[in-house]
Symmetry: C2
Subunit: 320 residues, 2 copies
């Protein structure tokens, strides 16, 4: 069987036809702005399903399910979008609307959970029984996979690890708390930390790196500067990795997963500069339980494809 | 059927014969110091089982299982104690040793998990599907019950929520980290905070309360002083509850349990002074998900009996 996966992002809507192994056979991308309202969203999903089948030469009857990943809170049982941060989609009974046009099973899930599911079935989490994926982006999303199933908590909102306070009375967070992990260890936080260091060190190699990038600070700037021998860049990276480790050790002490995968652009840094020092800190700080039983800290493998593949595999998960 | 539950503590070993509903039909207590080594521990468990049956007039054939709760790390599969903090018990194949004398099934579990299981079957967690218990004592223990089963993580050590950093670079913890939650929100932490306030305010009502208690600071001192109108006591309690809330909100955002129960001596304070302000903070700070879907914060109900009842129900859990 084949699966349709649709990754609804803040800017783009990406869709793919995926086979059992996680291979994307056909894909398509469009601006989310083209979708006006809930009905047009449902109809867009239908049109994408048909287009992808046509493009891949696959009959609709071969599609086991359509899965949709959404940046927000969903009701997985009813197949509805409850709330999204950055899109005008609230209380949308998507499954019901979709089934007016097509009778293929439709599943819906939070996007961080989709990413974790993709890694579980086709990436860094294959074979894991207690698996956690964190994605470093604007915030920090997480998906917790327990015996092959997404952990939803009692209300579908579990896994908001980005809003775990690691610094009591620290920086205010838009969520209303202070000192949330994502204020310190998301990709956006790294950029802010880099920008601050730049301001304080206008003559550093870091400043040259940013200038070469057209004056734009990116999540890579500090790492590039460090590799060129810059003390300022090194200090930014070291502090960032320490913040990242603080939250990861919290998760290890709470969940003791066998594998924890890190995704998002930042995770693409060379292992010597990110993963290796991070692993060392996690090993030093997490509770002792024998070296053979320690959580493996790995890179997520599927990159930007995880959204499509994970959404597609929502149906696969249901059939297991 | 009946169940034997044995709660191995740092000082005492408490044992009980428990019925299906969690009622303790007979109980016994002894100093753990009387147990010399691993063989004598196994033999003590056998003798206690026989004594309890005799005391309650119950035949051994009516005992479904013997459960043992241990303050440390265990291997639930093999029925072994791997490591305990405060007892000289390491790598003890308890089930194997016990079965030399008696063939009743023996289960072994971490004590915080036992407390959670007791509350799940016979206390504050009845009917809960996503249940978390925290116990405020020397540290903060936790048990996570997911669909009636204890969450162990990949290595049996999950749930060490006391060693979740809530204050990056905060107070050092014996575990090797800094700023662990239990350094701020355990019963011991409350006593330390009270002692500090006392030192700084020797003329406060708090000082009088402590003097009346023979000069000993307890986990109740600040609460008693607050109820008598003491500003110093009130400040200690308010700060303590704020620390407590910080970690609880972390757990709610991560797990979204339907129910979170708080045990340990501190939890016996009048609801107006502990649970009500705590609930308000948790409601304010945890991620929005509709008032009807919020985690219920409740008091654990079984008190000191939870250890025996939970250990006893290890066997009950296995049969479900």
């Amino acid at each position: 069987m084949k699966y349709i996966g649709i990754d609804v992002g803040g800017t783009n809507l990406k869709a793919g036809l995926v086979d059992e192994s996680g291979l994307i056979l056909a894909s398509q991308k469009m601006k989310i702005a083209q979708v006006d309202d809930r009905d047009s969203l449902a109809w867009t999903l239908v049109a994408l399903t048909q287009d992808l089948c046509r493009a891949a030469g696959v009959g609709l009857e071969q599609v086991a399910s359509v899965g949709v990943g959404v940046p927000g809170t969903v009701d997985v049982r009813s197949g509805s979008i409850l709330y999204t941060c950055n899109l005008p989609l609230q209380n949308v009974p998507l499954r019901k609307l979709f089934h007016r046009y097509l009778s293929i099973p439709l599943y819906i899930e939070n996007d961080a959970n989709c990413a974790a599911l993709a890694e579980y079935f086709a990436g860094a989490g294959q074979g894991s029984k207690r698996f956690v994926t964190i994605t470093l982006g604007t915030g920090i999303g997480a998906g917790i996979i327990h015996n092959g199933k997404i952990y939803h908590g009692s209300n579908g909102m579990a896994g908001e690890v980005g809003h775990m306070t690691i610094l009591y009375q620290g920086e205010p967070c838009p969520c209303g708390r202070r000192g949330c992990w994502e204020r310190y260890a998301s990709a956006s936080a790294l950029k802010r930390q880099t920008a601050r260091a730049l301001e304080e060190n206008p003559d550093s190699i870091l400043a040259a790196v940013v200038a070469e990038n057209g004056g734009r600070v990116s999540g890579q700037s500090a790492f590039i500067a460090m590799r060129r021998g810059d003390r300022v860049g090194e200090q930014v990276c070291r502090q960032y990795i320490d913040y990242l480790a603080a939250g990861i050790v919290n998760l290890v002490n709470i969940f003791q997963p066998d594998t924890l995968a890190i995704g998002g652009g930042v995770s693409n840094e060379d292992d010597r500069y990110l993963l290796q020092p991070l692993r060392k800190l996690v090993e030093q700080e997490s509770l002792p339980c024998g070296r053979d039983k320690m959580t493996k800290i790995v890179k997520a493998e599927l990159g930007a494809r995880a959204g499509i593949i994970g959404a597609a595999f929502l149906g696969k998960n249901k059939r297991v």
